[in-house]
């Protein structure tokens, strides 16, 4: 199956580990990812706070570029996923958005020739490959590994593919890989990613309650589907510890990294060494 | 025979099949020739329009007009023939209800011209030349007929006495019509030569309560020859179509295309069919209905293959009510 890959800005920098594990996993699953040519930043949560029309035109350009090629657009980042889906939704629902985007595109030499389907990588893996096939492909089950799954916000809300309050996709996938999935009420509670720089006090509290519950339930690590969540929970853990007087050292891993391990890929190809909180000690359990 | 029948046969917007169908009556064509003097038949004999214009009103006994009215020439001839004929017969599906050319009413003349003179891959027409009604040639001005915005059935243009249905009419139907005319044993004005009931009535296929779970096209399945075709997902026009064709299609395991036109009590063949099909689609809600409907290839072309110009929304006389 051929897909169009929209990595988003992070996967070329702070989330390089995510990108590495994605590349490894999709190869094992015989999925072909072709990067959307010359894609631009989706605007994340910043542009929509500053200029409504700009926040529509930025993701729309990516869709226009993707529409030139075949295949669904696969997005690994929750924030990008939501931005792209939202512009699609708005263009379908609001005539005025459609008209404005078309008008500006016309002046900039762009044309929207179709509406490619936008899907999160997790969604594609679960729906197109399927749990049954993944189960059969597991070479090294994640036995004894206790995980909590953190879907975050924008994967499931407001246009996501899973239950917005109690998503199941990640749980099902991790169980299929052999990990023990612990109950986790923070699954979809926001990590404060968009506030971490400007209002760290607010964001740190949010990070803390996620990490603290993961500790309380006895998880070896938190599994994430988004580079923003990973960065927030991983890189700021030290500062959060300092602020709340804790000694948490919870590794934050991408679902693709664990998937890669279970499918028998080489540890070093999955970017696991790039975690600020190293996951290796926790991973000793699975050998 | 002293009083040989004066017969005119004219070909308007049609494929020519109706003319061929007359020849298809085999040896009976001789009987026709024996009974009738053909005063006009462009496909078979050389006549000029002036010959026709010279004729007095009533000098033609019967005119068999095949084809729909699409151009100014066809309208002019329809009126000229009507003026001179005692009996005007709409011959074949196109003359009767507009026929396949009538499907052009789904689009505008402009769209058709764009497709033909501009958009098809094989067209090179850089100067965007379009059909014109006048052309100044080196030998003087030439005139071409005007193509109308829509297609008309014959009876929307002139008064019609009888209808001979079919695309084309079967030899049996043609012979029944000719026999009636020759013997003077004519049905009431406005009659359609054919059955009165629907094809479904005489169809011997086994019928049960109907539900359509999926629409199929004839090439997609080998239909069970004993069972109702509609129940097998093939859109068969049998229920809304006049009997009298001899079941040629259904006997050969093909769904009825509806060329004998609406049966006696059906006022709009296409609408009736759409209504009936919609009623038996096996669906739960709007969404599943839309999904199932999407599997029906070209519903307008199927339901109105022969009768669009005579459908309720198009049915009015050319040049007023």
């Amino acid at each position: 199956m051929i897909y169009q890959y929209y990595p988003g800005c992070s996967l070329h920098a702070s989330a390089r580990d995510y990108d590495e594990s994605v590349q490894g996993v999709v190869k094992s699953l015989a999925m072909e990812l072709k990067e959307v040519p010359d894609w631009n930043c989706c605007g994340a949560t910043i542009t929509p706070s500053l200029n409504q029309l700009q926040s529509q035109i930025l993701p729309a350009r990516n869709l226009a570029l993707a529409a030139e090629n075949r295949g669904d657009v696969v997005v690994p980042c929750n924030a990008c996923y939501m931005s792209l889906k939202k512009i699609q939704y708005n263009m379908a629902k609001y005539k005025v958005v459609r008209e404005k985007v078309t008008e500006i595109f016309g002046q900039a030499g762009l044309r929207l020739t179709g509406m490619p389907k936008v899907r999160h990588l997790l969604e594609v893996i679960l729906e197109d490959v399927g749990l049954e096939k993944i189960k059969q492909m597991v070479k090294k089950p994640l036995k004894d590994l206790k995980v909590v799954n953190y879907s975050g916000c924008q994967l499931v809300r407001p246009l996501g593919f899973d239950n917005p309050e109690d998503p199941q996709a990640l749980d099902n996938l991790m169980s299929a890989l052999g990990a023990e999935v612990l109950p986790f009420s923070q699954k979809t509670h926001c990590c404060g990613g968009s506030l971490i720089t400007t209002q760290p006090d607010l964001a740190f509290q949010m990070v803390d309650s996620i990490l603290e519950e993961s500790r309380a339930v006895g998880a070896d690590m938190v599994v994430v589907t988004c580079p923003m969540c990973q960065l927030n929970l991983d890189a700021y853990q030290d500062q959060v510890n300092r602020k709340f007087n804790r000694t948490l050292q919870v590794p934050i891993t991408y679902f693709t990294q664990l998937m890669g391990l279970a499918l028998g890929l080489n540890k070093n190809q999955l970017g696991l060494q790039r975690g600020i909180i190293s996951p290796f000690k926790a991973l000793e359990k699975i050998g | 025979m002293a009083n040989k029948l004066k017969l005119a046969i004219y070909w308007a917007a049609a494929c020519g099949g109706c003319d061929v169908a007359i020849l298809d009556t085999d040896e009976k064509i001789l009987n026709i020739a024996e009974a009738a003097d053909i005063v006009l038949w462009p496909i078979a004999m050389d006549f000029k329009y002036e010959d026709l214009y010279k004729m007095e009103p009533g000098s033609i006994d019967v005119c068999l007009y095949n084809g729909a009215v699409r151009t100014s020439e066809q309208e002019e001839l329809a009126r000229a023939l009507r003026d001179r004929s005692n009996v005007m017969v709409a011959f074949g599906a196109c003359a009767s209800w507009g026929g396949i050319p009538g499907l052009a009413n789904l689009v505008t003349r402009e769209e058709i011209f764009n497709t033909v003179y501009k958009e098809t891959v094989t067209t090179i027409n850089e100067d965007d030349i379009r059909p014109a009604t006048n052309y100044q040639g080196s030998h003087g001005e030439l005139h071409l007929p005007k193509i109308y915005d829509r297609v008309w059935s014959l009876d929307q243009v002139v008064d019609v006495d009888y209808y001979v249905p079919g695309c084309p009419p079967t030899p049996e139907t043609i012979w029944t019509a000719v026999e009636a005319i020759v013997t003077g044993n004519l049905p009431p004005k406005g009659s359609v030569i054919g059955g009165t009931k629907s094809l479904c009535d005489t169809c011997e296929r086994e019928k049960t309560e109907k539900k359509i779970t999926q629409f199929k096209r004839p090439f997609e399945i080998i239909a069970d020859p004993k069972k109702c075709l509609l129940e097998q997902g093939l859109v068969c026009c049998g229920p809304v179509t006049r009997d009298g064709c001899g079941h040629r299609c259904t006997n050969n395991n093909m769904p009825c295309r509806g060329c004998y036109g609406p049966s006696e009590k059906v006022n709009d063949q296409g609408a009736r069919l759409l209504n009936a099909i919609a009623s038996i689609m096996d669906v739960k809600d709007e969404k599943s209905a839309a999904e199932l409907a999407a599997t029906w290839e070209d519903p307008a072309g199927t339901a109105y293959r022969f009768g669009l110009p005579k459908s309720l929304i198009f049915d009015y006389k050319k040049g007023g009510k």
Binding site: S185 | C200, D201, T208, P239, E264, V266, N267
Partner: protein, 650 residues
């Protein structure tokens, strides 16, 4: 169609129509129409003088057709039909143009409105020319009544019909009667014990000779029409001989599955065996064998301890389902409601935190014969120190049900009182709006406020667990502050929903449902008890969420509808019906499966469709679908409709 004499009457409806439509102008222009001999406008056409005017014109001017341009025919068509009959004309020679609902109430521009009104009048004039006189039909009524559902509404209806001396077949899906009310403890606003007021009625049902009670039974087919329904009922095997069983419970004690299956009647708060007594006051008080869990029935392997324990040899595993057929004149539907499954709103933690319960579970908890013998207890067996009650879970919410479930405000207030009454706990009640509309309700709310309950105006948004304690997150909207309130027990007052099988029931009975999924009444204000199918009536929560007083009232109302047609002995059925032209029918069978009233059958000899005139409602579905145009609906045939369209467009 020439030579007809048509009278046109344009009604002002006070200023309702005339305020927007120029009625005299409409009347003037209508006078010019072909066939119209009289055209008048008048202030209130439906008044006596208005009707008299029509009658007089019919007699004096020899009118043979009448058009009334006024309100909806739903409102006044019967009125004007009678006026025509009073003048000596058949009532069906009337056509109404609705220039109120269709014009004056929905059009602002006066000129446009007048134009539109005239167009509708032209259509009506054109149409009425094709009208034919039709005679109404009368059929006799069977004096038995079927009641489906034996909750409080169904019981009330059944008792009332039976006490009037008529036969009632009472059908209940469960093994016992009483419905949801039987599970309750106290009832608002008087705090009567539910059992104390319901049990006597349940006993009456069991003893009334006019009531034939069928539990474990479902209606699977309904044929016929008002006055003459034939109903097929399936009675499931109970594996207990009711003649012999005394309800002693020895089998329940013996069952090897004892205490292993969540007990539905206790909403899962207690466990039972595969053989059990539903509850101590059950009617009928007989043992039940649960065929989903009985080892013998599911795995064909069991020690048969129950059989050995039963001293009266009442257990019989060879029972099969039985089919019954009843002839009745009317049907009362009282199938009740389902409770919203709070797991559908995971943010409230139902199913995840054991101390989050729903309202019915709380009822069982406080019920003296319930799983905790009337004590309000946490999962660990201790009493809660603080309790939260959350309103509107699944109600008033676009994500679940848009409607207000109507009983939850009052039941929440009652829960708060019960907690206060049984424990020393603090009670926090989270509400959006407090709706205490019934008799004595506001007073009850006032009383509970004074008992010291904390009423927090703000919808409980989430239930979380923090440091081992439940926390309710909400905004105290009157403070304008976000609050997290730690509690030990959360009661979710969940929505009342249509029964999960409501669609199936609606199809079996040929009735409709409204957008919210409850069964649809004929008129929400003026006819809340009847359905659009004559002879089928609604009672209780199957029509919309209701409290006990309203359910009882509607049960009585439905009974009086049944009794009314029994008393008349015959019913008029609408003469507007479909008929088949045998010469045109091709026997294609498209119509057969479509008829919502099952009035059409294919005559296997002639291979033509046949319509049972008594059953046909004249809905026109078959006529629209008939491909050969063989089916005609009287009063709505093609000539009439096309003439009307032409008139409107002219």
């Amino acid at each position: 169609m020439s030579g007809q004499k048509i009278g046109v009457y344009v009604c002002h409806c006070g200023s309702n129509i005339n305020g927007v439509v120029n009625c005299s102008k409409v009347a003037e222009e209508a006078a010019q129409l072909d066939g119209v001999v009289v055209s008048k406008d008048y202030k209130y056409m439906c008044s006596d003088p208005g009707q008299e005017m029509i009658k007089a014109d019919i007699k004096e001017k020899g009118l043979d057709r009448v058009v009334v341009a006024a309100c909806s025919p739903r409102m006044h068509e019967p009125t004007f039909r009678k006026a025509l009959e009073g003048g000596g004309l058949n009532g069906y020679l009337l056509e109404m143009a609705n220039i109120r609902e269709h014009v004056s109430w929905v059009t602002k521009d006066k000129e446009e409105a007048t134009k539109k009104a005239l167009a509708l009048v032209k259509g009506a004039v054109n149409r009425v020319k094709y009208h034919q006189p039709i005679e109404e039909k009368e059929v006799p009524v069977n004096d038995a009544t079927l009641v489906i559902g034996a909750g409080i509404a169904g019981i009330q209806a059944a008792l009332q019909v039976a006490e009037a001396g008529h036969k009632v077949y009472l059908i209940e899906k469960k093994q016992y009667i009483g419905g949801n009310m039987a599970k309750f403890d106290k009832t608002f606003p008087t705090l009567d014990c539910a059992a104390c007021i319901l049990t006597p009625k349940m006993v009456d049902v069991g003893q009334n000779p006019n009531i034939e009670l069928y539990t474990s039974s479902e209606v699977i087919k309904v044929d016929g029409y008002v006055g003459n329904f034939t109903v097929t009922v399936k009675e499931k095997p109970r594996y207990i001989n009711h003649e012999k069983c005394t309800g002693c419970g020895d089998c329940a004690t013996a069952c090897i599955m004892k205490n292993r299956i969540p007990h539905e009647f206790d909403e899962g708060l207690s466990k039972r065996g595969a053989a059990y007594i539903p509850f101590p006051q059950a009617v009928p008080l007989k043992a039940v064998i649960d065929d989903q869990n009985c080892l013998l029935l599911t795995r064909k392997k069991c020690t048969l301890a129950c059989v050995k324990a039963c001293g009266r040899k009442a257990i019989n595993f060879n029972q099969h389902e039985t089919i019954h057929e009843f002839n009745v004149g009317s049907i009362i539907l009282a199938t009740g409601f389902d409770l919203f499954d709070a797991k559908r709103a995971p943010q409230y933690g139902y199913g995840r935190y054991p101390n989050v319960i729903n309202g019915l579970q709380f009822e069982r908890m406080t019920n003296a014969s319930g799983p905790t013998s009337g004590h309000i207890l946490l999962e660990d067996g201790t009493e809660p120190k603080s309790v939260a009650i959350i309103h509107c879970v699944g109600s008033r919410d676009e994500n679940y049900n848009k409607y207000c479930s109507r009983v939850c405000c009052m039941s929440s207030v009652k829960f708060a009182h019960m907690v206060k009454d049984h424990t020393d706990a603090e009670v926090y009640e989270f509400y959006i709006d407090m709706r205490t509309f019934g008799k004595g309700y506001e007073e009850f709310y006032n009383r509970v406020q004074e008992e010291g309950v904390h009423f927090i105006r703000g919808k409980g948004a989430e239930v979380a667990q923090k440091n081992g304690r439940l926390v309710v997150k909400a905004e105290d909207t009157l403070l304008g502050q976000y609050r997290e309130i730690p509690v030990d027990l959360v009661i979710l007052n969940t929505a009342l929903e249509p029964r999960v099988d409501a669609e199936k029931v609606a199809q079996t009975l040929g009735i409709s449902r409204s957008a919210d999924g409850f069964f649809l009444e004929s008129h929400i204000k003026l006819d809340p008890v009847t359905t659009t199918t004559d002879g089928i009536y609604l009672a209780g929560c199957c029509q919309s969420p209701k409290d006990i007083p309203d359910s009882v009232a509607q049960g009585s109302a439905a009974a009086s509808q049944s009794l009314a047609i029994i008393a008349t002995g015959k019913v008029k059925i609408s003469p507007i019906s479909a008929s088949v032209d045998e010469n045109q029918c091709a026997g294609c069978r498209i119509c057969v499966g479509l008829c919502p009233y099952r009035a059409i059958k294919l005559n296997e000899e002639t291979l033509r469709a046949e319509i049972n005139q008594a059953v046909c409602k004249g809905c026109g579905t078959c006529a629209a679908a008939c491909p050969s145009g063989a089916i005609k609906v009287s009063h709505f045939d093609n000539d009439q409709l096309l003439a009307q369209i032409e008139g409107v467009l002219a």
